[in-house]
Amino acid sequence: MHRFLLLACALVFCCCCASAQDELTLVMQIDSDPSGIVVSGSGTETASISFGSVRAFGGTVPSGVTESLGVNSWTLNTLIDVKVSKGTLDVLDELSTSYTLTAQLETADTINTWKWNSLTLSTTAATVTATGVYNSTPSYSFNLTVPFSESAGSIANTIEMTATAN
């Protein structure tokens, strides 16, 4: 009887523990960089940035954004911070000393060039870093390069990032 009781207690504890781990495992937080564009949803894992109405020649860019001209294209650049934390109750995560961060585009873009820390993004995940440091807030340089030849209009895409405990 006592054995069954102990086993039941252990199972209940396991379930509670598992539930807690689901909430307390790796957490990604995307933040505005002090020198970058204002990130909407800063502090969450679902952020967005809007460059607004921009042009190659003349005009203005949002605060924290720099524009540079190339021979056949122009580029918008800004900084975005990404923080990855690990859960305190997650046994495997606690053993992890670093994480791997990958990034990819949600939708293919054959016209514009999207770069995350000089890494050209596509719809295939590419490794941004394999030695990410937990709880630090590294800033990543984001570049969007637009060809002169592209028609004016809206540009939109989503950068998907995945952090995996090493």
């Binding site: 006592h2 054995r3 102990l6 086993l7 252990a10 199972l11 504890f13 396991c14 523990c17 598992a18 781990q21 689901d22 495992t25 790796l26 990604m28 937080q29 995307i30 990130v39 894992e45 679902t46 952020a47 967005s48 940035i49 809007s50 460059f51 607004g52 921009v54 042009r55 190659a56 020649f57 003349g58 005009g59 122009w74 975005i80 990404v82 990855v84 109750l89 997650d90 046994v91 495997l92 995560d93 999207w114 984001f142 969007l144 637009v146 592209e150 028609s151 004016a152 209009g153 809206s154 540009i155 939109a156 989503t158 950068i159 998907e160 990032m161 995945t162 952090a163 995996t164 405990a165």
Partner: protein, 178 residues
Amino acid sequence: MNIARRMLAAAIIAVACGLVSSVSHATSTTGTVAVTATTVASVSLTFVSDGSGIALGNSGTSAASVAFGSVQAYGGAVPPGVTKTLNGTTSWSLSTPIDVVVQVANQTSSNYTLTAGLQTADTTNTWQLGGTSLTTTAATLTSTGTYGSTPYTFMLTIPLTEAAGAISNTINFTATAN
């Protein structure tokens, strides 16, 4: 003692459950950054020193300057890239090529129209660009300009009858994508 052993066993089972649970869920997390921008068509007009012309002040910008310095009809010297011509007994001219660079972005346009005009009227001297005399009313230098760099010869003609002194003016250019 039995109770202690049983509690230890329960604890081991619990830890084991935790490990299994950790393995069962991926130790990863995701985040997204949605990016939006609206690009607007634009045209760039800049002036660049021509390889055979005078060195422009602020070359490569849209607000350049040309300084001939101290020059005279007879004798003296002119800056490199400047040609001085005596027009009989009536006037003398200074001429130099200037590169006008027009670029277009995010707009379908095969050529452009370029106009130029003097900022201040000058009834004494003659100001010309590419053979077109300039006044305060913008004149069309080309209506089929090819994007990129195009050299225009700038010429300032000064009557011999004009008193010596400073001459200055500003030429305002406008490039419009066709």
